[in-house]
């Protein structure tokens, strides 16, 4: 068994109305920013999988991305391996924001 960490990036499919993206885009003028367009807001899910090897782990993530994390009618997803990369797990206690 080995441990693998992945991120699943879920985004609205092209052509799907994304009112969140539109709202973000609409706010850019207030920041004095222009030249930014086609803002799409999605969701990123990070997770750790214990499996025999990386390809077995990826198969698990494929299944859960397709069945749970994304609705294939309206969303696309991309799976990214982040093993070894810095991530939100494993942060030592007390290393968060000072209170």
């Amino acid at each position: 068994m080995s441990t693998h960490r992945f991120a699943v990036n879920v985004t609205p499919k092209p052509g799907i109305l994304d009112p969140q993206g539109r709202a973000v885009e609409g706010s850019l003028g207030h920041l004095g920013i222009d030249g930014v367009s086609a803002v799409r807001v999605g969701r990123r899910v990070e997770l750790t999988v214990d499996a025999a090897d990386e390809s077995a782990a990826r198969a698990v993530v494929e299944r859960l991305a397709g069945e749970l994390l994304a609705n294939p009618l309206i969303e696309a997803y991309a799976i990214e391996s982040i093993s070894g990369a810095s991530s939100t797990v494993g942060v030592p206690a007390g290393a968060g924001n000072p209170v």
């Binding site: 009112p19 969140q20 709202a23 009618l73």
Partner: protein
């Protein structure tokens, strides 16, 4: 004996008691079904009520879809059992693939709580046969943040062809709302679709709340016809009679 109709209660359901009440005054015996039950206890029909099942985390309805009771509801529906999803219940059955389409964030991103007008497109279903007339505006409330009905063009064309659009948002003369008219089409639903029915004709969902408009004291009794249709159809099913003509295809 009154017909027993199940009302699924998820953590976060908040229209379950309204639904129980509406079923009672329509002459049924409501049976609350907890989300962890794997059995429906022999009910003749099931309503998935409104609310925020499991906090609507991830996507409205998706966590609920994987609950033990939904496995039973799926098997019940596959066997021809009558299932009605209202609001969050519609989102749950859409996520479960029991009815076509998806419910997206409302066009203007806001949660909407107000009365709307919808009309039934057809009366030959177990959910609409007690209504007075097709195309007649029915007033009832909506209360949702994700009610914008979506399907791709091919899917929408197929729905229209197969007469699976059960309810549409309409104006006060019964004309279909246009996509961009915020008064009549509150959430931006494509083709003003407020409710759909599956191909087999035994599972339906809608965003507006008939159970909150089921008696005059609530300001409208227009939803009562939908509840009565289901109760009557369930009673027929329980008595082993043929269901109300489902589709004429």
């Amino acid at each position: 004996m009154p017909v027993r109709i199940g009302v699924v209660v998820f953590p976060g359901s908040n229209c379950d008691r309204d639904t129980v009440h509406a079923l009672s005054i329509a002459g049924a015996e409501p049976v609350e079904l907890w989300h962890e039950q794997a059995s429906l206890g022999g009910v003749a029909a099931v309503i998935l009520p409104g609310g925020f099942a499991y906090g609507d985390y991830l996507r409205a309805g998706v966590i609920a879809r994987f609950s033990p009771v939904m496995r039973a509801v799926g098997a019940f529906a596959a066997d021809g059992g009558l299932v009605l999803g209202i609001c969050n219940g519609f989102q749950v059955i859409a996520e479960a693939g029991l009815v076509p389409g998806a419910l997206l964030r409302n066009r203007d991103l806001r949660f909407l709580g107000r009365d709307v007008l919808i009309a039934a497109e057809r009366l030959d279903t177990p959910f609409t046969h007690a209504l007075a007339a097709a195309g007649r505006p029915l007033r009832m409330p909506i209360a949702h943040g994700e009610g914008c009905y979506f399907g791709d063009d091919a899917a929408l064309d197929a729905l229209e062809r197969d007469r699976q659009v059960l309810f549409r948002y309409v104006d006060d003369s019964g004309g279909s709302a246009t996509k961009d008219d915020r008064t009549t089409n509150p959430n931006g639903s494509l083709r003003a679709i407020a409710g759909v029915i599956n191909a087999a004709g035994n599972v339906a969902g809608l965003m507006p709340h008939p159970e909150r408009a089921a008696e005059a004291i609530l300001g409208s009794a227009d939803g009562a016809g939908i509840i009565r249709s289901l109760v009557d159809s369930a009673a027929r099913a329980a008595a082993g009679e043929a269901p109300v003509a489902v589709g004429a295809r």
